[in-house]
């Protein structure tokens, strides 16, 4: 199973409509991505809280053996 880069971006932007979202396909297999999400809502939250919010936006697509995404390298921060 895999997920397209556009689909991933769309999912993230649905939950973070004002964020700067950058998604990179790391392996070209639709399974290993890097995503950077810069959003005002992250201000004052620690990294665990920020990344939990991103995982929640992905609605179970990361869920282990049944997930469509094996690997997502995440970078999250509030805008400078």
């Amino acid at each position: 199973m895999a997920i397209s880069l556009t689909e991933l971006e769309t999912l993230l932007l649905e939950s973070f409509p004002h964020a700067k979202v950058t998604v990179t396909d790391l392996a070209g297999d639709g399974n290993h991505y890097a995503a950077e999400v810069i959003d005002e809502s992250f201000r004052g939250k620690n990294r665990v809280q920020q990344q939990r919010a991103v995982y929640a936006a992905l609605k179970g697509k990361m869920d282990g053996a049944h997930g469509e995404l094996h690997a997502l390298a995440l970078t999250t921060k509030a805008p400078d």
Partner: protein, 120 residues
């Protein structure tokens, strides 16, 4: 609480530093687990490794326990610290050193500096 969650709760309370990972600290079976175990090994941290591949209950249970969907997961003094990306960032920024210091965990400062020099 399920048996797996009780077991997880007891494990993270019994050891100052615990890494839930795929494989073991001497034989990791996933690149992300390998990276975090590698950092801890290099920094000379004494930690308990839990191989989630050996127990499906723990593999699912740990995700619910921390509300975090991925493995590896690092715990210090019973608190979830983060997964591979967070631990990597914290290693490079020196925040991991601070966390260990604050929690009285012995680590090799020179080794930590070497990691930072190599990734500068």
């Amino acid at each position: 609480m399920t048996d797996a969650k009780t077991q997880i709760s007891e494990t993270v309370k019994a050891h100052d530093v615990v890494l839930f990972m795929k494989g073991t600290k001497t034989m990791p079976q996933c690149g992300f687990s390998s990276r975090v175990a590698g950092v801890l090994n290099f920094m000379g941290i004494e930690y308990a490794d839990v191989n989630v591949l050996a127990d499906d209950g723990v593999r699912q249970g740990i995700k619910e326990y921390s509300d975090w969907p991925t493995i590896p997961q690092l715990y210090v003094k019973g608190e979830f610290v983060g997964g591979c990306d967070i631990i990597t960032e914290m290693t490079l920024s020196g925040e991991l050193d601070t966390l260990f210091e604050e929690n009285g965990v012995t680590y090799d400062k020179d080794a930590a500096n070497k990691i930072r020099e190599a990734n500068a």
